[in-house]
């Protein structure tokens, strides 16, 4: 039973198991990226689930023949019961190990290598046909080229190389970068102690750039993780540091053209997938992935590199996400809301402007109309006004004549003369007051708001209209309110409303019999509102006219302009009041004007 189970297990495992042998710790940054890339593609291409085992030679911390033998024994024992479909090696060391122990460990098992460098492979004897892979090369030249592009004034390239055997990059680097250096001097710092290296790096000027690969060991024989040593180099250097090694990104280096281990992993996954799928020609290898420019945004800023000069295909790390990237939806929403609100605000402002303009125009028209209407009233009152002025002028003339006669007669009649002069002066004053009243009525002025008392306004109006009333044989009965009727308004305008209403009443009475030729004007105070009613017993108006009374250019009079009531209503409404008309109980018309009481004054009163 157990045997059956094992057999079954072995059968399935054989087809779908792969061992990934790393040269160094599988927890390293590059190896993790490789693993991720591998898993992305291997199953998609294999058509079956592949089980992945991972082992590492843990270079450079561990090494040497004895260690490798131990590792070989371990792997032999560990995978004896797990027949593998393939072994995948990453980097040179793992491939070298497999080539050495393959026959004893995994005879006949296809080997796929990844990340093995071209240079190293060239130094090896030709590989058997079932060992395939994509050789890679660090892009030293591309990295240095990019560095010199960003620092055009650099005249000095410092290449930092560690002390261990694995650190010896010089033979790889020198031939590749020498052709592109031009006037730039290359200095190779090989196997310095850390303090010496740091001192040297600190003294670099702005004419230098540094190339590092990290190192495993310094001149004192101290060991480092590549990542840590690269960070020490970057921290010490007063010149920008570049690297072609992807895993060193983030240590403080500006960047470089690197091999993407994720991409290498993906490529290896595709090859293995095809292998497990049994596709013919799976051994045909793709080209090595091109190097990718990787940059650290923080270093771009630190060294003042123009972001415009970063090629669009570069991978930029450590760039704080823009508002847009971080909060795309929120930003979209906010922008939409802001745009909508802006449009709304703009349209409201426009609307307000339009309205304001219309208001100003209307006010002007209103002022002009009111003025025209007052002129019309003045025209209507010409006879009365002339009478009003000529009366005192007549008296002045006569008194002056009298004084002259007295003076011509001779004799001492000083007292008579003084009396006459006094009268002349009084009458003259009377005449000028008439003119003043008239001017106040006719003045074309902007509306003002001032505290007014309706009883007093009416008394003035009555005085103003008295001559006209006399001329027309009419009487005006004034019934003031018992308490002061205070409002806030423009005196001329309120006078105009009342004059218009009373003149209308007078017109309505033009053909009335003498006993009906009276107009009753009454002021009433209620809380919050004061009202003036003008009542006549004239011809009144037809029911149909009631609704049109306050329309402009509506008139029941032959000579009327039809503006009086329209303007009266405009003025009253502008004062926050209302005006209405009704038919009197015994014929005639009653006009009611209601105006808001001026509370402050009322309280004071």
């Amino acid at each position: 039973m157990l045997a059956l189970l094992l057999l079954h297990f072995a059968a399935t495992a054989e087809a779908g198991q792969v061992l990934v042998l790393y040269s160094n710790s599988p927890l390293g940054k590059g190896n993790i990226a490789f693993d991720s890339g591998l898993r992305q593609t291997i199953n998609a291409n294999s058509g079956q689930p592949i089980q992945i085992f991972s082992e590492s030679l843990d270079e450079p911390e561990f090494g040497g023949d004895r260690y490798e033998l131990t590792m070989a024994t371990y792997l032999h024992d560990k995978y004896a019961e797990r027949p593998l479909g393939a072994v995948l090696t990453l980097n040179d060391t793992a491939l070298r190990f497999i080539l050495r122990y393959r026959e004893r460990l995994f005879p006949g098992v296809p080997i796929v290598y990844a990340g093995a460098t071209r240079n190293w492979l060239r130094s090896m004897p030709t590989l058997p046909p079932d060992i395939v892979g994509v050789p890679v090369g660090f892009d030293f030249a591309g990295t240095v080229e990019q560095a010199l592009k960003w620092h055009p004034r650099a005249t000095h390239l410092v290449v930092v190389i560690g002390a261990s055997k694995q650190d010896d990059w010089e033979p790889l680097v020198r031939p590749e970068i020498t052709p592109i250096l031009g006037q730039v001097q290359a200095e190779y710092l090989i196997g310095l102690t850390l303090p010496a290296l740091q001192r040297h790096l600190r003294e670099l000027g702005s004419d230098s750039v540094v190339l590092t690969f990290g190192f495993f060991q310094d001149g004192d024989g101290r060991s480092y993780l590549l990542h840590d040593s690269a960070a020490l180099v970057a921290a010490a250097s007063s010149a920008p540091v570049y690297t072609p090694v992807e895993t060193l990104m983030g240590t403080g280096v500006v960047g470089g053209r690197v091999l993407s281990y994720e991409q290498i992993g993906r490529q290896a996954g595709e090859i293995l997938g095809r292998l497990f799928n049994g596709q013919p020609g799976w051994q045909r290898m793709p080209k090595a992935p091109a190097s990718v420019l990787q940059v650290d945004w923080r270093q771009i800023k630190r060294w003042g590199i123009d972001p415009e000069q970063i090629p669009p295909d570069a991978v930029v790390s450590f760039r704080p996400p823009t508002l847009w990237q971080a909060y795309r939806n929120a930003v979209l929403g906010a922008v939409t809301v802001i745009v909508l609100l802006s449009v709304l605000v703009a349209s409201l402002l426009l609307e307000r402007l339009r309205r304001r303009r219309a208001e100003i125009t209307m006010q002007k028209q209103h002022t002009a109309l009111a003025h025209a209407s007052r002129l019309a009233v003045a025209g209507e009152l010409t006879a009365a006004i002339a009478h009003e002025i000529n009366q005192p002028l007549g008296a002045v003339q006569t008194n002056a004549d009298t004084a002259e006669v007295i003076l011509q007669a001779g004799g001492d009649r000083r007292e008579d003369l003084l009396r006459l002069v006094g009268r002349i002066r009084n009458d003259n004053l009377r005449a000028s007051q008439v003119i003043k009243r008239l001017r106040a009525l006719l003045a074309r002025q902007e509306a003002r708001r001032q505290p007014l008392e309706l009883n007093a306004v009416l008394t003035d109006v009555e005085a103003f209209l008295r001559p006209e009333l006399q001329r027309r044989d009419m009487s005006l009965a004034l019934r003031p309110a018992k308490t002061p009727a205070r409002i806030l308004g423009d005196e001329t305008q309120i006078q105009q409303v009342l004059i218009n209403l009373i003149l209308n009443a007078m017109d309505a009475l033009a053909e009335a019999p003498l006993d009906r030729r009276s107009i009753l004007v009454q002021v009433e105070c209620t809380t919050g509102t004061h009202s003036v009613s003008v009542k006549d017993q004239g011809r009144g108006f037809a029911d149909g006219d009631l609704s049109k009374l306050f329309d402009s250019f509506f008139s029941t009079k032959r000579t009327g302009m039809g503006l009086g009531l329209s303007i009266a209503r405009t003025i009253v409404v502008a004062h926050g009041g209302s005006i209405r008309a009704e038919r009197g109980p015994s014929g005639g018309a009653i006009f009611h004007v209601e105006l808001p009481a001026h509370e402050a004054s009322e309280n004071a009163a």
Binding site: H387, N390, Q391, G394, A395, Q397, D401, T402, Q470
Partner: protein, 135 residues
């Protein structure tokens, strides 16, 4: 006696200062002058049968000067009338003159014009008195 040789001028004007001024001027010049504030006042007063004329304001409260003229004509009072007005309109002037007014003067009226009109009115009154009544 003297009083009766002086012509009596009736002044009807509702404007107090005008009425007083006219009264005083005419008195100083040598007429007898009586002022009335309204047509009613004038009609109520017993009218002495004396040589003279009426200075009548056209625009009076209640019934106007023209109505007074008509009323006097109806009553047979034939005293010549000179109209005074603060505002002369053609139709009133025509009506007044047609009804026999001596003149139609607009205020303010200068003394010469007033005296000239008074002279014609008094002359007319003399002619009237010497006319049908005396013959």
């Amino acid at each position: 006696m003297t009083a009766h040789t002086r012509p009596l001028i009736h002044i009807v004007d509702d404007d107090d200062s005008m009425r007083m001024a006219l009264t005083e001027l005419l008195t100083i010049i040598g007429f007898d002058a009586i002022g009335y504030g309204s047509t009613g006042e004038f009609l109520l007063d017993a009218l002495p049968d004396r040589h003279g004329c009426i200075l009548l304001d056209l625009g009076l409260p209640g019934s106007s000067g023209l109505e007074l003229q008509a009323a006097l004509l109806r009553k047979g009072v034939a005293l010549p009338i000179i109209f005074l007005t603060g505002h002369a309109d053609v139709s009133s002037g025509v009506r007044a003159m047609q009804a026999g007014a001596i003149d139609f003067l607009e205020k303010p009226v200068v003394r010469e014009a007033l005296l000239e009109a008074l002279g014609r009115a008094l002359a007319s009154d003399i002619v009237r008195r010497q006319g049908p009544t005396s013959s």
